[in-house]
């Protein structure tokens, strides 16, 4: 399977490079904001003094409900950062496999500028569209149920991808109408809403986080589009 091998090799190479670069960007951009927010998250989770509210036993039940209190988690510092780099590289390889698979299906050489455009398509599908309904969230923000948000996120990405492909590759008028409809549909349905509750996380911090995540993601997809197109062009050349 020479084509499968070319795709995997070039995606692994591009993912390794982009994952490493984006990790550096995150250590300066998003990670400090996440850590700042976790201070508020812990403050909100800490058992309240008995004078403030009800009996002390209620705080224990509250802790048990959180998924990340009892299970294993990496230690802060080197271990946590190493897992972040690893997860970034794996994510980049996964998305690189998608892009490179598309290049293989296209079946003709893809220039770096075309690769950049495919990468920007990935930004719209996987960051911009889901982010409209479910903006990037800091730890400690009130959120709707996880499974519902994941379902909406995946459905939105899928509908946006199909919609964009219809707009780009089907010249007929019906395709333009259907494509625009598919892109709009998830937002007409609406993302799962977070319950109304007060968050300890300052609004300025979460707005800053949204901007930093979106910019980092734009860099990620631009780099991934360019690097996959160059890598696949070199590796698949007979």
């Amino acid at each position: 399977m020479p084509i499968f091998r070319s795709i995997v090799f070039s995606a692994a190479l591009a993912g390794l490079i982009v994952g490493a670069i984006i990790s550096v960007a995150q250590f300066f951009g998003t990670v400090p904001l996440i850590q700042k927010s976790e201070v508020y998250e812990r403050k909100a989770e800490a058992p309240k003094p008995p004078a403030a509210h009800e009996h002390a036993g209620a705080a224990h039940d509250h802790d048990a409900g959180h998924s990340h209190d009892s299970a294993w988690e990496p230690e802060d510092g080197f271990q946590r950062n190493a897992f972040t780099v690893g997860a970034n590289i794996l994510t980049a390889i996964g998305f690189a496999l998608l892009l490179t698979g598309i290049y293989a299906i296209r079946g003709r050489p893809v220039t770096w500028r075309e690769g950049l455009l495919w990468g920007l398509g990935g930004f719209v599908v996987f960051t911009a569209a889901p982010g409209l309904g479910l903006p990037p969230e800091l730890p400690g923000m009130p959120v709707a149920e996880l499974a519902a948000r994941q379902t909406w996120w995946i459905a939105t990405a899928a509908a946006t991808a199909i919609g964009l492909c219809l707009l780009a590759f089907r010249p007929a008028a019906w395709a333009a109408v259907l494509g625009l409809g598919l892109i709009a549909l998830p937002h007409l349905v609406g993302a799962p809403l977070a319950p109304e509750s007060h968050s300890e996380v300052p609004a300025a911090l979460s707005h800053h986080f949204i901007a930093v995540v979106t910019l980092t993601s734009l860099l990620f997809w631009a780099l991934l589009g360019v690097s996959t197109s160059i890598a696949y062009g070199r590796i698949s050349r007979p």
Partner: protein, 60 residues
């Protein structure tokens, strides 16, 4: 170089076998992203925690 890229190349490169291989690679990619970003296993969630937040994957 430029001339060899014209009409004949696409027909050769996008045979059904090429499409099958490309789709397999894309499925592998979706599986990897799903495991890193969407798995409900607590240990996986905690390991990739900062990346999930930084990629705006739904978290917690």
């Amino acid at each position: 170089m430029q001339q060899s890229q014209t009409a004949h190349l696409p027909a050769v490169a996008t045979g059904s076998s090429a499409v099958v291989q490309a789709v397999m690679a894309m499925a592998l990619g979706l599986f990897i992203v799903g495991a890193v970003g969407f798995s409900h296993i607590s240990a996986v969630h905690n390991a990739a925690h900062d990346v999930r937040h930084a990629n705006a994957f739904p978290c917690h």
